[in-house]
């Protein structure tokens, strides 16, 4: 029955307890049972005392004295109440006080309580009502939840009924004559109650065991939870320590502010700085805005830190960054101040991170100074480079100018104006008989034809010289543009204009046309259908003149029948490429990589500037310049690629 009761108390689905948990449950039940018994012992100790006092009081009230005539003595009931009652009660009280919870104690109490029932029944003359004391005592003893105590009480009661019923039936039943077996009836009723009380005790034990098992399970769970909490707390503490270490180890000065600017938390570096500032400037403690307003010097165009904090706090998104200076002169320190929203359970809080950038600012200042020095040096070097470029390009054009001037001089030297002077002298000489001279003198007869031929010759000379002079003017104009372009390189940007690529190529070729004709170079133009480009005319022209001039010079050692220059144009996406291909001396592979370097040249009288400046110019107009050669003696091809639409003007 006990097992059934215990099983009924188990929870469905509950996992089987471990052995240690079962042992803990047993230990808890043992303590629980013992504590309950000790508590009941104390209650019975009080009851024993009350019964004793009650017996004395009752004896004193009902039969205080016994009389012999006029002489009274204390009634034996009083003596018995004091003596026998005290004897019955004293021992269980002693046990309850000295050995609470012990089995001996509760069995002694059960025995004493049975004696008290017997005593009451006897003193009441075996009144039936007094027998209820037995049943009440049994119910009280059931508080122990130990059915063995009920057995002790029941056995004592049965024996008492048997003995007194046999020898003093009036004492227990209130009648003189009674059946000797009546004690069995009384004992039967006691057993009847015992059955229910024993069931109650067993159920109470089962409930107690179940309660203790659950308590053990709960303790195990709590222990597990506590261990987990302890572990988590330890991990959290370690993580907190780690974060604090990181927080205090970073170079930045970090603090969090509430909506009034009060510093909520800060790392060690900020604390150190704020302590320094507070002691120095006598500021009120911990108000960041006061510190920022009085100690930090911001650039005047920047938003103030207080306003920035308010804005970041209001939006709770985005961030604000500025640089501030602390102190002046050599002791000035620079900080980058980043204001970030503090995404935490604190509303309207912000995090302010101060990163010292004094070294960086100093480096920047030093770099700026160096840059200024470099600019000056570069300007000077640039001016020299410009001068070199001008001299080079102007020199190229001056060759053509020289050629044109020589042509003009040669034409003048070959001019027939001397013949005209002789004709004029002869006419003046024969001015008196000019008609005779013209008619009869054979020389005079030759004059008209001579004048006609002379006129034709002089006209032809004039045409040739006009042509050369036009070329000379073109060359001079190019020199002017070169100078202007070099000025633009040095100072201001050029002007982009929409250009026809074919015209540009023809113009560049025209600069070198006479030279190429003189060197017997066969040149060809291979134009594709290319769009117009928007570029600086003179830069493109400078590049092309350079490329054509170089090609011409590269073919000086090439047999005259193999000298061929081809200029072709192609449209490639958003670019236009202009290729200048010659059949000249070619370029070695090792020279291909450095051919655009400043100062590199393979010519005896070269400066290494032409291709360098051309490559720079190509970059400036947003294009590129590349070279390809299959090797020495196999010619070379220079390709200029320019954008169709130059989006960014050359303004540097």
């Amino acid at each position: 029955m006990l097992n059934n009761v215990m099983n009924a108390q188990s929870f469905p689905g509950e996992p089987p307890s471990s052995k240690s948990q079962q042992a803990r449950g047993e230990a808890l039940y043992h303590d629980y049972f013992r504590a309950n018994c000790a508590r009941t012992d104390q209650m019975f100790a009080v009851l024993m005392f009350v019964q004793w006092i009650g017996a004395i009081v009752t004896a004193c009230l009902i039969s205080p004295h016994t009389w012999i005539g006029e002489i009274s003595t204390l009634h034996i009931h009083v003596w018995m109440a004091i003596g026998l009652g005290g004897l019955v009660s004293a021992f269980p009280i002693y046990l309850a006080l000295t050995a609470p919870g012990e089995a001996t104690t509760r069995h002694g109490i059960a025995f004493a309580q049975a004696i008290w029932s017997a005593l009451l029944i006897h003193l009441s003359g075996g009144r039936l009502e007094t027998h209820f004391h037995i049943f009440g005592s049994l119910a009280f003893l059931a508080f122990y939840r130990d059915w063995r105590v009920l057995i002790t009480f029941s056995v004592v009661t049965a024996v008492d009924h048997f003995v007194r019923g046999y020898w003093w039936p009036l004492s227990v039943y209130g009648v003189m004559m009674e059946s000797p077996l009546r004690w069995i009836e009384h004992a039967g009723w006691v057993v009847f109650e015992d059955i229910f009380l024993i069931i109650s005790c067993l159920r109470g034990q089962a409930e107690g065991r179940s309660l203790c098992d659950r308590q053990a399970s709960l303790e195990a769970t709590i222990s597990t939870i506590e261990e987990t909490v302890e572990q988590r707390t330890r991990e959290l503490s370690e993580a907190k320590g780690f974060l604090n270490a990181v927080f205090n180890s970073v170079d930045s000065l970090i603090c969090t502010l509430d909506d009034s600017g009060l510093v909520l938390q800060s790392n060690a570096r900020w604390k150190a700085l704020s302590r320094h500032l507070l002691s120095k400037d006598h500021l009120k403690p911990a108000n960041y805005l006061d510190i920022a307003n009085s100690a930090f010097h911001q650039p005047p165009t920047k938003q103030s830190i207080a306003e920035a904090i308010e804005e970041v706090r209001r939006k709770q998104c985005g961030s604000y960054s500025t640089e501030v200076r602390l102190g002046n002169g050599q002791h000035a320190r620079w900080f980058q101040v980043d204001i970030l929203p503090f995404r935490h359970n604190l509303e309207n809080a912000v995090v302010v991170v101060h990163t010292e950038i004094t070294d960086r600012v100093s480096a920047e200042q030093e770099r700026e100074r160096l840059h200024h020095d470099l600019q000056t040096a570069s300007r000077q070097a640039g001016m020299a480079e410009v001068a070199t470029g001008v001299l080079h390009n102007v020199g190229n054009v001056l060759n053509s100018v020289n050629v044109s001037a020589n042509v003009v001089i040669e034409n003048l030297q070959r001019s027939k104006t001397s013949v005209l002077k002789k004709v004029t002298g002869t006419v003046e000489e024969h001015s008196s008989d000019l008609s005779t001279f013209l008619v009869s003198d054979p020389r005079g007869q030759h004059f008209p034809r001579l004048l006609a031929e002379l006129t034709q010759k002089i006209c032809q000379e004039q045409d040739e010289m006009r042509t050369e002079l036009n070329c000379l003017v073109e060359h001079l104009s190019h020199i002017k543009s070169i100078v202007s372009m070099q000025q633009s390189i040095a100072k201001v940007g050029g002007v982009a204009e929409t250009l026809n690529v074919e015209e540009l190529v023809e113009q560049a070729v025209a600069f070198n046309r006479s030279g190429m004709e003189r060197h017997g170079i066969d040149f060809q133009l291979d134009f594709d259908d290319v769009p117009e480009v928007t570029l600086d005319r003179h830069k493109v022209l400078q590049i092309l003149v350079n490329l054509v001039g170089n090609a011409k010079q590269a073919m000086e050692s090439t047999p005259i029948d193999q000298r061929q220059l081809t200029v072709s144009t192609r449209h490639d996406g958003d670019q236009v490429s202009i290729a200048v291909r010659d059949t000249g001396m070619g370029i070695t592979s090792e020279n291909l990589s450095k051919i655009f370097s400043h100062g590199f040249t393979t010519k005896k009288d070269g400066h290494g500037f032409g291709l360098h400046s051309s490559a720079l110019a190509a970059q400036e107009i947003g294009g590129s310049l590349s070279v390809h050669s299959d090797g020495p003696g196999l010619g070379a091809t220079f390709v200029l690629r320019v954008p169709v639409q130059k989006e960014v003007l050359c303004n540097q």
């Binding site: 009931h77 018995m80 019955v88 021992f91 003359g125 004492s171």
Partner: protein, 209 residues
């Protein structure tokens, strides 16, 4: 110095000693309760009420109980006497003889027992206060709760108690004999039984007299 063995022996012996003491005490108490008071000497018992100053009824049976007004045990005797009267004929004359010392003590008569007796007797006229126990001595009675039943002709038919022990009510032989004496008019013999209660006077004093 108590050795462990002695201590263990004490722990075992002490409960037995206590239980034994308790049982012995109970036996003593029961024995005391069952012990009757000093029995009246039958030789002194009046065989006829006519020889005494007892207030008998007229041509009717008379039941006379002697009481000590302070005796607690006699309450049970009076109650048994009351049950006896209620069961017997209505024409039984009930009388009480209440012992009273020579020198009347204040409040001696004012006890619960006297009030019960007065009520049962039907009035104070049926209650005789026996100063110095003279009447009791004449009747040979010296224990409170002693009942005497007289036939209408004044012959004593019963002399004894109405309880079987001190202060214990309940069915008992004495009460049955008294009831028989009251209800059986043909009974011509005297029956006696023990009386349980306080003594009306000391026997030594009586003997001295």
């Amino acid at each position: 110095m108590i050795t462990p063995a002695a201590s263990k022996l004490i722990r075992i012996a002490l409960p037995f000693a206590w239980a034994t003491s308790v049982v012995v005490g109970m036996i003593v108490l029961i024995d005391y309760s069952s012990a009757p008071g000093d029995r009246p000497q039958s030789s002194n018992a009046p065989l006829s009420a006519n020889t005494t100053a007892l207030p008998l009824g007229n041509n009717q049976s008379t039941a006379v109980m002697f009481l000590h007004p302070q005796c607690p045990c006699s309450i049970s005797s009076v109650r048994e006497f009351g049950r006896l009267i209620s069961r017997a004929q209505d024409d039984t004359a009930v009388r009480f003889v209440i012992y009273e010392p020579e020198d009347e003590s204040p409040g001696w008569r004012e006890t619960e027992l006297v009030r019960m007796a007065t009520d049962l007797a039907g009035g104070t006229e049926n209650v005789l206060f026996d100063r110095g126990g003279k009447t009791a001595r004449e009747c040979g009675v010296n224990v409170s709760g002693h009942l005497m039943v007289f036939s209408p002709d004044g012959a004593c038919r019963y002399s004894g108690g109405t309880t079987l022990s001190r202060g214990h009510e309940g069915d008992n032989a004495g009460a049955n004999q008294a009831f028989s004496a009251l209800t059986n008019e043909d009974q011509d013999f005297l029956q006696c039984s023990p009386v349980y209660g306080c003594q009306l006077f000391a026997l030594e004093a009586k003997n001295a007299e």
